[in-house]
């Protein structure tokens, strides 16, 4: 898994690529929590994530919790079928703010 962080119209975007599993989810968690400290609006681009497991979902939930505590916005976008399937099976599709595209994130 790799991550790259950038800014678009005041929103911090973290582009994630590859597989998020037990080995890589701690790195994702660390990256997102560090990014969240520096912004009020954090979006995670999952369009190049081919696989995510429950440890990855747990990391995203932890960031969501931190965002809520800090009254910040945390959005997921570009969900692949693999990511969407895991969110559906864990009944979390309504817990996260989910958008289709980056443009939707910026203008919602």
């Amino acid at each position: 898994m790799n991550t790259a962080t950038r800014n678009n119209e005041g929103t911090t975007i973290v582009d994630v690529t590859g597989h998020i599993d037990l080995g890589s989810s701690p790195d994702l968690r660390k990256t997102l929590l560090e990014s969240l400290k520096e912004t009020d609006r954090l979006a995670v681009n999952l369009v190049a994530v081919k696989y995510i497991d429950s440890s990855g979902i747990a990391s995203l939930l932890e960031v969501l919790k931190a965002a809520r505590q800090g009254q910040k916005r945390f959005v997921l976008f570009g969900l692949t079928s693999a990511v969407r399937q895991v969110l559906q099976l864990t009944r979390l599709t309504t817990v996260f703010e989910i958008r289709e595209t980056e443009q939707e994130v910026l203008h919602a």
């Binding site: 599993d21 696989y51 497991d53 079928s81 399937q85 099976l89 864990t90």
Partner: protein, 146 residues
């Protein structure tokens, strides 16, 4: 002819990708539907990850053996480890919400697989996962006609 694939790996998360690739390739050979294949890969990955986390508590020196017995209509995975037995409270179904601490991996396994059986065996633990796959290996048309 049924196919048996066996992997023996250390209890290290970096080998999860190998397990996923092996299951995925087997799915390609058998022609499993994409969604079914993704689900089975996820279930087996979660099961191995649970062994690393909960049976071996992150100790990278443990051994995990994953055996996959594939047939046209049924897949059976057997996972063996020599770690601590699973916590009955964790492997039983529990309600999930966004505040739940853990248990999602086990929930996913039960949602995806048709049979899930945890057993204590001499020297360790055995987990059997079974997935019934109707009309595996046939064409899309045969599948829709079935």
């Amino acid at each position: 002819m049924d196919v048996q694939v066996k992997l023996r790996m250390p209890s290290q998360a970096r080998f999860l990708a190998v397990v996923r690739a092996a299951v995925g390739e087997l799915g390609s050979v058998y022609g499993w539907p994409e969604a079914e294949c993704q689900g089975v890969i996820l279930a087996v990955d979660e099961a191995v990850a649970n062994i690393i986390k909960h049976a071996y508590h992150g100790n990278s020196e443990g051994a995990i053996e994953v055996t996959c017995l594939g047939a046209a209509d049924r897949l059976e995975f057997t996972l063996l480890d020599q770690g601590d037995p699973p916590d009955p409270g964790r492997i039983c179904s529990q309600p999930l919400d966004d505040h739940a601490h853990g248990g999602r991996g086990t929930h996913l396994i039960r949602m995806i697989m048709d049979e899930v059986c945890y057993e204590r065996v001499p020297g360790g633990n055995r987990l059997r996962l079974i997935k019934n796959l109707p009309a595996v290996g046939c064409t899309e048309k045969e599948r829709s006609d079935a």
